[in-house]
């Protein structure tokens, strides 16, 4: 987009700022809108799981405006702050949490090249920035001047920091298979049929996906790992003292992170924006066919990724409304005694598999003719797919390129 | 078990402890001397046959008629009565002990009557004695932690006494 604006005669800095602003606003809307939809969905799903109806009236039918009504209520609520609270930190904390969750979206590709900022270390960036969310929680717990908040913050700190380890190991496996940390490339390498997904790459990746799911649920503080808010033990944990809009920022950050880790799972393991069946390619459409075809393919990819990420979020909701909560020591045991060793073994396994059977067990079947743009990364066993000239020229480096159109 | 034989075995184990008894009542009861209640209970729990290993309830009854017209008609002297309901888990049998206490120690109003605590015998007695202290005003000697339990700690008076008057005001809250 910046190129387009420069082409219109705008100075470079202005064009870049406008392009960045548009991306930021779009992403913000994705998070805020997504949170609204997911909160509504969670209420409806929880209600259906529990044999209730959930919201039915707001907005006419199905209560689809319920989250918006809640948002208005939250805006109108009195903004309370405990007397002994550390004012600055107390106010800062929700924004820190939200910003961390939001920033991670910058590097998340929604379809091929539909990404806020394509980074060659995208995976690293997303995981690292997502980990910053814990700062907001710790600040909130510390600044609230409430013992329950402090307990919640300490739990969150211990839990999130511990789960970063197995989470990192899980994330490294697709990186290793793809040979790049660029999320766009990782996603693109799984193009083609469903069997190309890294989930089905080998048995080790299949196992490690489920480890990733466990760790992802834990790192975004969802049941059964929602110890930081644990309403039956810690009243509401770190956000005990928050009300109104500040509280809703924590909530949005939570839903944002949920979507993010689900989308990350989709990109890393579930083929990203590539559907189970390469419909576009079967009918002969691809990025290289033409501009309108490229848009169509990307739109299709967008729908694919959002569907996958949404399914991930729904899975988390399903888990939440089914299982009891673990205890803090059990959460740590799960992480340190189960997730980490399993992830380590699976990592080693995936590595050897890749070394010994680089083309998979059935090379001809598991890698049908798909569109593999990053041809230079393919080993000798890779497929001799011809690179479309247009795509290859702009994306061949795998380095950070410009923002999406 | 509820017959005179049982009474005699208590008498033999703790001489002078049994002050009276009523074996024809709906729940036959034995009256114990106030100073001996803890000893008797200890014996009943550890050595008696059957062993009364559980305490069901401790009740304090205030025998006092505040209305002078009615008070002239009553046949008893004003006193406090402690009722202990014991239970034997192995024998599935119950036993009632009663202890008569003066309403005020030395008949000086405000001086609580004293009674040995049975907390050392049954842990149930801990909270039950605190409740009796709180609501009926009996001082249990040897109780580890005798505080008010149901009323606030700065409450004045013993509400289950018959001459108790609800305070007009408690921290600015209207009482009556």
């Amino acid at each position: 987009m910046a190129d387009f604006l420069i082409g219109l005669g705008l100075p470079g800095w202005l064009a870049w700022s406008i392009a960045a602003l548009v991306s930021a606003v779009l992403l913000l809307n994705v998070i805020a809108g997504g949170a609204l939809v997911f909160i509504w969905a969670e209420r409806k799903i929880a209600a259906r799981i529990q044999d209730r109806l959930g919201p039915t009236r707001t907005g006419g039918r199905f209560g689809w405006l319920q989250s918006l009504a809640d948002g208005i209520k939250l805006l109108a609520k009195e903004d309370l702050m405990p007397e002994g609270a550390d004012g600055l930190l107390f106010r800062l904390a929700p924004y820190v949490s939200f910003c961390a969750s939001f920033c991670a979206f910058i590097a998340l590709p929604f379809a091929f090249d539909v990404v806020g900022q394509r980074l060659n270390v995208g995976v690293f960036f997303v995981v690292a920035v997502l980990g910053l969310e814990v700062f907001g929680v710790i600040l909130a717990g510390y600044a609230s001047a409430s013992k329950w908040s402090l307990f919640g913050a300490m739990r969150e700190a211990a839990q999130v920091v511990s789960y970063e380890v197995p989470l990192g190991m899980c994330v490294v496996v697709p990186v290793m298979l793809a040979g790049t940390m660029d999320l766009v490339t990782i996603g693109e390498k799984q193009a083609g049929w469903m069997s190309n997904w890294y989930l089905f790459h080998d048995p080790f990746t299949f196992v490690i996906f489920w480890v990733y799911v466990t760790c992802a649920v834990a790192s975004v503080n969802r049941a059964p790992f929602d110890l930081a808010e644990a309403e039956s033990e810690l009243v509401a944990g770190f956000h005990t003292e928050y009300s109104g809009l500040r509280w809703s920022f924590f909530f949005m950050a939570e839903y944002g992170s949920m979507f993010l880790v689900s989308a990350l799972a989709a990109v890393l393991f579930l083929g990203g924006w590539n559907g189970p069946v390469p419909v576009a390619q079967l009918v002969g459409l691809s990025e290289g066919t033409g501009d309108s075809a490229a848009y169509f393919v990307r739109l299709l990819g967008l729908a694919n990724l959002i569907t996958k990420a949404t399914l991930g979020v729904l899975l988390m909701m399903w888990i939440r409304w089914t299982l009891p909560r673990l205890r803090i020591d059990q959460v740590m045991t799960t992480c340190l005694k189960y997730c980490t060793p399993i992830a380590a073994v699976m990592f080693a396994g995936a590595m050897f598999w890749q070394l010994l059977l680089p083309g998979g067990l059935l090379p001809g079947w598991s890698r049908p003719a798909g569109e593999i743009r990053e041809g230079w990364l393919e080993g000798p066993g890779g497929l001799p797919t011809p690179l479309p000239a247009a795509a290859a020229s702009s994306e061949s480096s795998g380095l950070a390129t410009r923002s999406p159109r | 078990m509820r017959g005179p034989g049982f009474l005699e075995s208590i008498e033999a184990a703790c001489p002078g402890a049994v002050v009276g008894s009523q074996l024809e009542a709906i729940d036959p009861w034995i009256e114990i001397a106030p100073a001996r209640i803890a000893d008797v209970c200890q014996w009943l729990k550890t050595a008696g046959e059957p062993r009364f290993d559980a305490l069901q309830c401790i009740t304090a009854v205030d025998w006092f008629e505040p209305d002078p017209k009615k008070a002239a008609k009553v046949t008893w002297q004003p006193h406090l009565e402690m009722v202990y309901h014991l239970w034997s888990t192995p024998a599935r049998a119950s036993l009632v002990l009663k202890v008569k206490l003066p309403r005020w120690s030395g008949d000086v109003a405000g001086h609580l009557p004293e009674l040995p605590s049975v907390t050392g015998v049954w842990r149930t007695a801990d909270w039950h004695e605190r409740e009796v202290y709180d609501l009926s005003g009996v001082m249990f000697t040897g109780h580890p932690d005798l505080r008010r339990i149901l009323c606030p700690e700065d409450w004045v008076g013993y509400p289950l006494r018959k001459d108790y008057e609800m305070p007009l005001d408690y921290h600015g809250i209207r009482g009556r």
Binding site: R325 | Q56, V61, T124, W127
Partner: protein
């Protein structure tokens, strides 16, 4: 504070000195089942000391009892254990009947069994659901309430109230069951029976649930008796005692001819463990899991009793009979009776002095004694275990504070 730490032998073993923190759990806290306040002394997540503070719901029930006639006190018994008001009504009614040496007719007897056991199911459903809530799972709570709602509908049809019934009263019950009620009750039982399996799947056998409850808050047999625990808490510790079988004749007579097995682990097995989930190997007798499981078994047991009672009640042809007069004169004397309420043994004590107003009324509640064991169970546990332990005792503040 520093002195406490210096004196504590456990802490000196560590290099890092930690500071202890006093935390107030309650009176406003999501999982203290009402207005219970627990003062926790914590060292990080570890609770070194727990002290319950009660009395926030004290409503002078015993003092009121000294000023109204026994039948007028029935509504106050509703408010003791408000989740099992029928059982409270029954306990008080039987105590007064014991003092007056009154015996109710055959039809009233079966009606009482029927209603009391139905309320036991409702109470255990709340206990089960709320326990799930304590452990952080919300759905079983609503599944339990959905079924309890149907029981409340039945009660509403029988007496017009949904929570505080005042239905069973001195000398019988206030009214006979409406026509068609028994069929509705049977339909409910038929519909409810398979749902218990769902509860077992969601909670009893759930791996996380077992991890959270098995081996936690172990209450030994001796300690349970010493603290006067009763009901499922006592039976969960392996003490074979149920007032419906072991109590006084006026109460056990009510269950004459009824077949039921006390839900307690004997020789390592529960009476019904062939049809219901087996005990997980982590579970220790007397822990939270066993207390919970005993409650679940009692639901089945009560349903069995309800079916028996329906048959017997339907077979009675004579009328129900009128309850005693509101201002019936009480004989001189005293009577104490413990009945098996869902939460444990509910004892009522009444002293009559020849007038219609009792001289003294006393309610000995099971939750009161059950709660007093908290500080023993919570010693050295984690903060997350405190709700798990308190929840497994299934207390109701209404009957603790009275």
């Amino acid at each position: 504070m520093s002195n406490l730490i210096d004196d504590d032998p456990r802490i000196i073993e560590f290099d890092v000195r930690t500071d202890e923190m006093l935390v107030n759990m309650g009176p406003q806290h999501p999982s203290t089942h009402g207005v219970l306040r627990l003062v926790l002394r914590t060292d990080g997540e570890i609770v070194s000391e727990t002290e319950p503070h009660i009395g926030y719901l004290h409503r002078c029930a015993e003092k009121i009892g000294e000023n109204v006639s026994p039948r007028q006190w029935i509504p106050y018994t509703d408010r003791l254990d408000y989740l099992a008001a029928m059982n409270m009504n029954l306990g008080w009614a039987l105590t007064v009947e014991k003092l007056m040496r009154h015996e109710v007719g055959e039809k009233a007897r079966h009606l009482r069994v029927l209603i009391a056991e139905l309320n036991r199911v409702a109470s255990h459903l709340v206990g089960m659901g709320a326990y799930g809530l304590d452990l952080g799972t919300f759905s079983p709570f609503l599944y339990a309430f959905r079924e309890r709602e149907k029981i409340l509908d039945l009660f509403e049809e029988a007496c017009g109230a949904r929570l505080t019934y005042s239905y069973l009263t001195v000398g019988g019950a206030t009214a006979d069951l409406p026509p068609g009620w028994l069929q509705k009750c049977e339909a409910f039982l038929d519909q409810f029976e398979p749902i218990i399996k769902e509860y077992h799947a969601l909670l009893t056998t759930n791996a996380i649930f077992v991890k959270r409850t098995a081996g936690i808050g172990v209450l030994s047999r001796d300690m349970a008796i010493d603290y006067g625990c009763s009901g499922p808490v006592l039976r969960g510790s392996g003490v074979d005692q149920d007032m419906r079988r072991d109590g006084e004749s006026i109460y056990t007579g009510m269950y004459d001819g009824y077949a039921f097995e006390v839900a307690v682990q004997k020789d390592g097995r529960y009476p019904r463990d062939h049809t219901y989930p087996s005990v997980p190997k982590e579970a220790v007798l007397g822990d939270c899991w066993h207390r919970f499981f005993v409650r679940m078994l009692e639901v089945v047991q009560s349903m069995d009793l309800i079916r028996q009672a329906i048959d017997r009640y339907a077979a009675c042809r004579e009328p129900l009979g009128e309850p005693l007069k509101l201002a019936e004169k009480l004989p001189v004397g005293d009577a104490y009776l413990e009945t098996e309420a869902p939460k444990g043994q509910m004892g009522f004590y009444i002293i009559g002095n020849g007038t219609s107003i009792p001289w003294r009324v006393r309610a000995r509640s099971s939750s009161f004694s059950n709660l007093s064991v908290t500080h023993e169970l919570c010693r050295g546990c984690l903060i997350a275990d405190v709700p798990a332990i308190v929840g497994s005792l299934d207390i109701v503040m209404g009957e603790i504070d009275r």
